[in-house]
Amino acid sequence: MKQKEPFIYTVSPGETISIEIEPVGLSAQVRAAQNGKAIAASGPPTKPRFEFSVTEPPGNSHFVMIWYQFPAHAPNNAHYEVMVHGTLAGSLVSEEDRPITNRGPRHQPAERRLVYDFRVEQ
């Protein structure tokens, strides 16, 4: 796995990808789906991880959409840190992605939905 730019990665067939999310200043209220299927979170509830295997042929993408929930009156520095891991043939590659912050009005709950594009290459 290699980060091409934030939110866009190149991955290899058979690779296992996991997206690890660590909330800072708030609790983890996140959900995810990939190419039409919800992904159940694994790992501790305070640092959930969404995992899937690369099954698409080269040229295609795995699109993962993550719902980041921000409660009302969360502190100014509240954000989610995102780490993406790829494992292939026993080797682990990790890339840090953009932290996700709430840029809307802070007095009301808000969510951000963002898509991560994992492009399959040979």
Binding site: E5, P6, I8, G36, S61, F63, G104, R113
Partner: protein, 513 residues
Amino acid sequence: MITAWKRSISALACIALASATLLAGSAQAQTDPDSGFLAAEIETLGWASSTREGFDDTFSGEWPMVFTKFILDEVSPAINEINLLRGIDFRTDQQNGGSEGVNGTTSLVEKGGLPTLLGLAVEHGALQQARSGTSLTLSTTPYVAIALANGDTAENFRRYEFWSNFGISASFPLDSDADTLSSFEDFKNVSELAVKWQIKGNRNPRSKSFTEDWHDTFGSKIDALLEAETLAIYNVMKDERLKALYRNDALKRQVQSAIGERLAAYRSGQGGSEEERRRELTTIVREALRDAMGTTEDGGMVELPMELRREINDVIAPRLLRANRTLFGGKKSYEEQYMALLKEREPLIVTLKYAARFVEESSDISDVKALVEWSVGRIDLNFNGSLSFNNSADSALGQDTVREFAASGGITWSTFLEILPTRAPTTFSVAGKVTRNEDLGDTIGNAQARIEVPIGAGIRLPLAVTYASKTQDGSKDEWKFNVGMNLQTEKISSWLRMAALASALGGDFRLGE
């Protein structure tokens, strides 16, 4: 003098009829820049980033949604627009036929809602008249003039919806001088002219406020369905050409730049209302993507393979609809929820009416009426109160200036019958009316059972059986049967537009999946 006036009104009614029919027939598929998936996405984008830097930081995570929503809007406006359009046929609050003073009318109690473009009703029978008759009633609002001049677009309706609160109607006897309505001369014998003002309770689902409520109630839930969203992105990107465009960094940066440059203005409130700014932003994004992809010669949809259009129509859009239904728990159909929303937000309708009635060999009559409807769930309760005056009372005939007082009430129940060819509600109603007629010095009672069946888009068949304790010439009690056919050009226009969209999709119209 009065005849010339009647002729003028009649001619106007004929022109309105012809023009509105033309308008209905020319309905075209068109994209509303302020509704649909892309506009909703732009709104989310606009408020998700307070700074240009913040916007640029995460735009790559938004880009798949912007691109996909554009494609969905281009190929399948059905999800938002058609669902809104079909709601027009769910309305049960509109009065199409003549009032109870008109020969042949099937309505003992008059409803307060107004047909927005043009309503036509042909009815046969009698209610309070001694003689059975057939009449044609044309109903419209001043909005039809705007629609004819500028087009009946979503944008124009939002801008001028105020004018849909005023109604004008004219009823003509079809059997006074001729057996059929065969010539212009038949229109001279207008029997009732009426104006209405709907003070409260406009249930038109095309209104801005209803559209906003619809998005609040249904839209956010649709967005929450991440599965359906990612499936949509995935399926669109299966097309190699689209995938190449989506992965084209120059195109992405162009769109990013177009949005980013206007973000500060969008957030600061400069450049018009929020809606206008969002519309501008959406249009800019849409045009940029259209330019990159090329559109069909008639300026319609972007050029896409028919297989993809069909897939969007057959797979992607239905999947989104099914996900929607799943989220709602399946307790009520979409139609029922939609109708409930229409009524819940405007449960009370209040309309005032003035009518001039022209009676052969008698004084002309003026009616002042209040029409009230209160809706709870599938039940509509209707009440009418009226006062009638003889315009030139003839004391030799025992006539007073005040001709009669009347009060009436009815209850209507609506349901969707699967056996019918159209998904519009069938209504069952019972009604009663008490009239104190000062000319006769007597009180008359009426009771009615009525069913109104939708037989096609915008076409309904009312059937009524009415008991009258006396007719207005003082003869004995009587049972009367009435039958009619109501037609609304607004509903037909909506249906034509939906059919045009379905045709462009190259497949069956999958509404209701």
